[in-house]
């Protein structure tokens, strides 16, 4: 047979291997080949058009309807607008009316949709029977719940317990009514990050354990003792905006920010100066500042007894001693004191979100006292706008709850949207308690997380985007929540479940919506249904009822005694030993871990490390070399409670003995994206709490740090830590800004002039091709590096808007990431701890290198200057990606999957790219198109600022601007008339349409 003579030669791993193909193999290959050819050529178009049964009034097929609601991904409670297309929510954007976030959202807010449409979301109640889950119906689950509650209530008071996440007043009142009806006091609000130390200090100094807002925008100098207010601290979107209003060059304020902490977090990386102090010694540093400021006569208006006792106490401390303890130089302290004395409106911020325990109270107390000394009226504290998270109970309260449960004092435990088994160090004990036979535990949740897995009944409830509710983001602000998506499962709202549990005659409302409407309309004196509609249309009630009085200061001898106790003259042995300290930080992407099952958040790399999906331990260079480790080497971190092993990554922004790892990963359950991904460092933290404030310890002393001998390939998206002198992300000292900069004229890296992607940027001596003839618009983006905080909100928004595939950890390790916009970070070669962030997306060059090499003309220069990728032409040679100097083109190595119902989120205006084609940023062409159509319908030109791409829309720091370069009056055109404007690698004569403004370097 002739097949037998066929010899196929394959080249496998560089060597030739001969395979004789037999008839059978030939037939197999031929069969599979032709079948897949036939199947692959079939485009499966939709065969049916389904008509609605009844048309909703506010829906027009093919257009987006916006619904205002509130984001509940963290207790900050930003206002959102949800874009509803044919019943599906395709995008979340900030509500511009909402005073907290003013139209902006963070990455977690953008990814809330992946919680709603998560493929691992539970849709049926699950009952545990003999360690197996049995799906039951909602009525059956409810009956079970009702019977257990009744049975428990008959046994006596306080037998029912509940932990809930931070909820709005109306729901909390309902929970409270429920608990008083069933005679129990065990209702606790559980949050992993409660700012106990700050509340404790405020209770002592301001007579109220509150969490006031801060007017960062009015400050001219901010000193932060680790407060990560650009990431997770209290209200990150709000504070990012306010910080940039105070700090950025173009706002005219030009304030400065000094970060004093052992770890230079993302917030610290945005500071003008980072003072690396020894772990747990921030308090000493703050006390040294108090000392110096007090000596220089601040705090005169305070009461005499307090001043006398402070004076007595400070005699025992001096700056030199503090400098030694903190491991900083004395001039750094003096320099900062000088700045503080000079500043008109200085503001001192306290310790980070994840409390370090006892040392955090010292820091917070010293920071608050420093604020009081600098201005006793505390003008930068906003007592009208107290953060909602202050209602949450301290960790000591939660521990008491579990102690009671452990002693068998409770028979029914209800857990509403909390995951203590994951986020508390005593998670194993909690799992054991929940698993007890005599205890009936119910988890009201969306996902099978570590806590739900230990419960007896898992009761799925509606997602916040499907619910009627209200939330008080700040005191005096009531924001409303309304269902923004079509119903796609039968889960009830948690409020309705609790209302049904009341006896029929004692029900506070017919259903939760009616109860909510009654409460809110009464509270805000709304008497018409139109008033109610207006309330939910605008997303809430934003005017504070009446201004709160500034609380009286309660300073005295007890304050100084406390200060002396918290910051003893002789630091503890642990501080002095200089042993490695493990800090676990709240995560910009996952918060406390609740974001870990949103694939976008996993896929977006952590800005500081550029590592996606994985947990890493950030280790300082000295500690790395002492252990003979390099990046990616797995290290074992041992504390008194146990050991974790995770890859190490060198991070220069650390005090020598500090080791940092982020919380949020390492789930044992929580769905396909989170399960067994990364490491949960909570397991090695101390189970105890601080005896004064009740704060948990998110830092722990390390007994040992050892290289395990293994190496883990890192899902690292950055090619290099430094710019290798390529002039990518540039900065400029503030003193150079006033001067007239010599404009370049030559052809070298340093002398190449800025060449706009317009006909005026063409020079026959430099260019082969003539200028493009653009039609009315030449789209362009301006990126202000002085404003970019590196928060990655733009990246998440881009994933949501443009249907970008999630490739997973392995593909990223292979270098096949898909993001259209990324935040690059570069270390300053002279000071590696100082970082610069650069959002990088397609530069839409006028002289695009990608276009020249495509054999099929797939990259196409549009009439409005866009570099359009035409997917149908693309044959996947990848020459363009190779030739692009900005490395922004992404190749689809596979057809990426959106497992049901994640595909419901896909934007119907954007093609889902298939395997084998190249894709990249389109400047949100669908939005340009929409603006174009609207303008044409209204017979006018497109207005400046009418086109807002998704990244620009969401940027909390307003670092991105978009507009038309051909319009001489446009914002972008005005913005680039500055010495700060430059083009990334413009010397290649690519004529990019993305123009960057240099970061301003301020010296303190």
């Amino acid at each position: 047979m002739f097949y037998k003579h066929f010899i196929f030669t394959f080249i496998i791993s560089g060597s030739f291997q001969k395979t004789i193909m037999n008839r059978r193999t030939f037939l197999k290959i031929a069969g599979v080949g032709s079948a897949s050819f036939a199947a692959g050529c079939n485009s499966h178009p939709e065969r049916n058009l389904f008509s609605l049964v009844k048309a909703p009034e506010d829906r027009v097929t093919g257009t987006v309807s916006w619904y205002a609601s509130t984001c509940r991904e963290c207790p900050a409670g930003c206002g959102v607008l949800a874009a509803n297309r044919e019943g599906r929510v395709i995008k979340l954007e900030g509500n511009p009316l909402h005073p907290v976030n003013k139209g902006k959202l963070c990455a977690r807010g953008q990814a809330a949709l992946q919680g709603l449409y998560n493929p691992d979301r539970l849709v049926r109640p699950l009952l545990k029977t003999d360690d197996r889950w049995e799906e039951i119906s909602y009525p059956k689950a409810f009956d079970l719940l009702e019977k257990n509650i009744e049975k428990t209530a008959q046994k006596g008071p306080d037998r029912i317990g509940m932990l809930t996440e931070t909820v709005g007043d109306v729901l909390l009142a309902l929970f409270k009514a429920f608990f008083s009806h069933y005679r129990s006091t065990n209702l606790y609000v559980f949050e992993p990050f409660v700012f106990e130390s700050l509340k404790y200090v405020h209770a002592r100094v301001l007579a109220n354990p509150m969490l006031p807002g801060y007017r960062l925008d009015r400050a001219d100098l901010i000193v932060g003792f680790g407060a990560d207010f650009l990431e997770t601290w209290l209200s990150p979107v709000e504070y990012a905006r306010k910080f940039k209003n105070m700090h950025s060059f173009d706002s005219g304020q030009n304030g400065t920010f000094v970060h004093v902490a052992p770890f230079r977090s993302l917030t610290g990386a945005n500071a003008d100066q980072w003072i690396a102090c020894r772990p747990h010694t921030e308090g000493y540093f703050a006390l040294a500042l108090i000392n110096e400021v007090f000596k220089r006569g601040r705090g005169r208006k305070l009461t005499t007894p307090f001043r006398a006792s402070l004076n007595r106490m400070l005699r025992n401390y001096n700056t030199e001693m503090a400098a030694n303890i903190c491991g900083v130089s004395q001039w750094q302290i003096n320099n900062l004191v000088f700045s503080l004395m000079e500043a008109k409106r200085p503001l001192v911020l306290s310790s980070p979100t994840a409390s370090a325990g006892t040392s955090s109270i010292g820091t917070d107390l010293a920071a608050v006292l420093l604020n009081i000394l600098l201005d006793p009226k505390l003008p930068l504290y906003d007592f009208d706008q107290r953060h909602r998270v202050e209602i949450a109970d301290s960790r000591s309260g939660i521990q008491k709850f579990w102690e009671k449960a452990g002693k068998g004092q409770m028979d029914t435990i209800l857990l509403h949207q909390v995951n203590p088994a994951y986020s508390m160090p005593s998670g194993d004990e909690i799992v054991e308690i929940l698993g007890r036979q005599e205890l009936f535990s119910v988890a009201f949740t969306h996902f099978m997380d570590q806590t739900a897995a230990a419960c007896d009944l898992v009761f799925p409830i509606k997602h916040f985007l499907e619910s009627w509710d209200s939330y008080e983001s700040k005191q005096g602000i009531t924001t409303t929540l309304q269902p923004v998506a079509g119903k796609f499962n039968d889960a009830p709202q948690v409020g309705d479940v609790f209302l049904e549990l009341f006896p029929r005659d004692k029900k506070p409302g017919a259903d939760y919506k009616a109860y909510l409407v009654d409460t809110l309309t009464e509270r805000h004196a709304i008497d018409t249904s139109i008033g109610w509609v207006k309330l939910i249309q605008s997303g809430g009630w934003f005017a504070p009822d009446k201004p709160a009085a500034t609380p009286e200061l309660t300073l005295g001898r007890q304050t100084t005694l406390l200060l002396r106790k918290l910051i003893p003259k002789k630091p503890s042995a642990a501080i002095e030993s200089d042993k490695p300290v493990l800090y676990t930080t709240s995560s910009l992407r996952f918060y406390d871990g609740r974001g870990a099952n949103r694939p976008w958040l996993c896929e977006i790399p952590e800005t500081l490390t550029q590592i996606a999906w994985q947990s890493v331990a950030l280790v300082s260079e000295s500690l790395m070399s002492a252990n003979h480790c390099k990046d990616g080497d797995s290290v074992q971190l041992r504390t008194g409670r146990g050991q974790i092993e995770l890859p190490a990554y060198t991070y220069p922004g650390l005090y020598g003995n500090a080791v940092v790892t982020s919380l949020g990963l390492g789930h044992e359950h929580y769905g396909r994206y989170a399960r067994k991904q990364g490491v949960n460092p909570v397991a090695v933290l101390d189970t105890g709490v601080d005896s004064d404030s009740g704060a948990p310890f998110y830092a722990a002393g390390l007994i040992s740090l050892k290289y395990s001998g293994k190496n883990v390939p890192l899902a690292l998206t950055s090619g290099s830590r430094s710019q290798l002198n390529r002039k990518i992300a540039l900065n400029i000292p503030i003193k150079h800004l006033g001067k007239v900069m010599p404009t370049g004229i030559g052809l070298t890296m340093d002398t190449f002039p800025m060449t706009l992607p317009l006909p005026e940027g063409y020079n026959p001596q430099r260019d082969i091709y003539p200028a493009h003839d653009h039609d009315t618009c030449r789209w362009s983006m301006v990126v202000d590096l002085d404003r970019c905080t590196g928060c990655s909100a733009c990246v998440a928004a881009c994933y949501a808007e443009n249907n970008i595939g999630v490739v997973g950890q392995q593909r990223i390790i292979e270098g096949r990431e898909m993001a259209w916009i990324r935040i690059e970070r570069y270390e300053d070669p002279e000071d590696p701890a100082s970082l610069i962030f650069l959002p990088m997306m397609c530069q839409h060059c006028d002289n695009a290198p990608c276009k020249a090499v495509c054999p099929v003309y797939a990259p196409h220069h549009s009439k409005q200057g866009l570099n359009n990728q035409i997917y149908n032409r693309c044959i996947g040679t990848r020459f363009c990606a190779q030739n692009c100097p900005y490395k922004v083109r992404r190749f689809n190595w596979f057809d990426w999957q959106w497992p049901e119902p994640l595909n419901q989120q896909l934007n119907p205006n954007v093609t889902v790219r298939s395997k084998g084609v190249m894709e990249k940023c389109s400047f949100c062409i669908q939005r340009i198109k929409q603006a174009h159509d609207t303008a044409k319908n209204e017979n006018r030109a497109i207005l400046d600022g009418e086109v807002i791409p998704a990244c620009v829309q969401t940027c909390p720091a307003d670092a991105l601007y978009f507009g038309n370069l051909m319009d001489k009056a446009s914002t972008v055109r005005k913005m680039i008339r500055t010495a700060r404007a430059y083009q990334v690698m413009g010397y290649l004569n690519t004529k990019p349409a993305v123009i960057y403004l240099k970061k301003v370097v301020r010296t303190i």
């Binding site: 178009p45 389904f50 008509s51 049964v53 048309a55 093919g62 359009n868 174009h932 044409k936």
Partner: protein, 210 residues
């Protein structure tokens, strides 16, 4: 035109076959030459038989594909709705049932309740209208069969075309004369031709693609 060609082609084949079989290849008296031809054909009857079968099969296939009754009148719909009757004879405006055409990229399909606005009163007990009632009562969306296809990566904006006063018939054909819609798979050439004639936007992404 193609129908006539196919029909004549298959009929000719059929006649030749019948003559061959009837004469068994014997020379015919009145046309000697023809008789000789027939004879040689008869001696090659086996391969010719195969060829004939193939031709017959092809012709049959083409017949069923193109000429079978009702083939040209479009896909059967779950409810026998006639555009000729509603849009043509009763002269109901297109945008009564497809109200979003002037407001959105998508013209919109009439919800089931809209049909019943009239058909609660007009021939309410007609068997086809009963089906409509069943859809309404059981809250089931009607699975209309799609007849006009556009490639997935094209977003056709109805609003812009309506604003430019392009008649629905320009693309959708003589809907008013069709009971069932024949439909069409639109190809790029169809769009580009018109865009060029009217000097409309011809930018790839700004105009159609996304």
């Amino acid at each position: 035109m193609i129908e006539v060609l196919i029909l004549s082609f298959s009929l000719t084949g059929l006649v030749i076959g019948v003559i061959l079989v009837a004469a068994r290849g014997k020379a015919m008296l009145f046309f000697t030459d023809f008789g000789e031809t027939m004879k040689s054909l008869w001696s090659n009857r086996q391969p010719l038989g195969w060829i004939f079968c193939c031709v017959l099969l092809t012709a049959g296939f083409l017949f069923f594909f193109y000429l079978w009754p009702n083939i040209g009148i479009g896909a059967a719909q779950p409810i026998a709705f006639s555009h000729r009757l509603h849009a043509g004879h009763k002269a109901i405006a297109c945008d009564y049932c497809h109200p979003y055409a002037g407001r959105s990229i998508h013209p919109g399909m009439p919800p089931v309740e809209k049909c019943l606005h009239c058909h609660n009163y007009i021939i309410a007990n007609h068997p086809e209208i009963r089906k409509e009632h069943d859809y309404f009562n059981s809250q089931t969306p009607t699975p209309w069969v799609k007849v006009y296809y556009m490639a997935e990566h094209v977003v056709f904006n109805h609003q812009r075309h309506i604003k430019k006063e392009i008649a629905c018939e320009t693309c959708h054909g003589q809907v008013k004369q069709m009971d069932r819609l024949k439909g069409q798979r639109f190809k790029m050439g169809f769009c580009v031709q018109c865009h060029r004639q009217n000097e409309a936007n011809a930018d790839c992404w700004l105009a159609c693609h996304s």
